[in-house]
């Protein structure tokens, strides 16, 4: 069965410090991994996906199939990065379903 693990419920860092939000997954096929972010009182929104290999708002994430990880990183945290971050995996379940399996989320708090 597919599973996404985010080991940290809460991560507090000082502004300007590096950030790493951990995500590990288990999946038998070829996964597609995402990071979604939820700012206070806003909807879940896509931050980045592994196949696009892009950097959004200074965040990057590399899929490491050997370690089954997809950690989210940013070299210098900003106060506006404070939010809930969810790692998610999509699976093809037939008929194009592509349902998402989410981790429990990590709340990032950037201290000024």
């Amino acid at each position: 069965a597919q599973r996404v693990t985010q080991p940290e419920k809460l991560l507090s860092v000082f502004k300007g410090a590096p950030v790493e939000l951990k995500c590990n997954y288990s999946y038998s096929g070829s996964p597609e991994l995402f990071w979604y972010v939820q700012y206070s009182r806003q909807r879940l929104q896509l931050l980045l996906r592994h196949i696009s290999r892009e950097s959004i708002k200074g965040f990057t994430a590399d899929l490491n199939k050997g370690e089954t990880s997809f950690h989210l990183k940013k070299p210098f945290a900003q106060e506006e990065d404070s939010a809930m971050y969810y790692c998610a995996l999509t699976q093809y379940s037939g008929a194009g379903s592509y349902q998402l399996t989410f981790g429990k989320g990590t709340k990032l708090s950037v201290i000024p």
Binding site: R43, L44, S93, G94, G96, Y98, Q99, L100, F102
Partner: protein, 114 residues
Amino acid sequence: EPEVTQTPSHQVTQMGQEVILRCVPISNHLYFYWYRQILGQKVEFLVSFYNNEISEKSEIFDDQFSVERPDGSNFTLKIRSTKLEDSAMYFCASRGRDGQETQYFGPGTRLLVL
């Protein structure tokens, strides 16, 4: 930029009552989803819908749940007889077409069952 919308934003109901949660997906999207998040827990998949039928459902999505796309725009989730444990945030999401895997989420409906 088009967005998924959901109504109501909050709903309070008595146990045993029926509730209908409404969603308007992004207009040219073809795949629709419901997820829920019980307070303090992870976002969980409930059901996916494509071509006017359910394409996948989780074990949570039992006979008390149903989905419908009654017209060309709305996508609804009905809970026939609510239980206390149905209290959660319910998110609707939509996706464009094959090759477009990104799901776009609505703001959610917070359901409280008393």
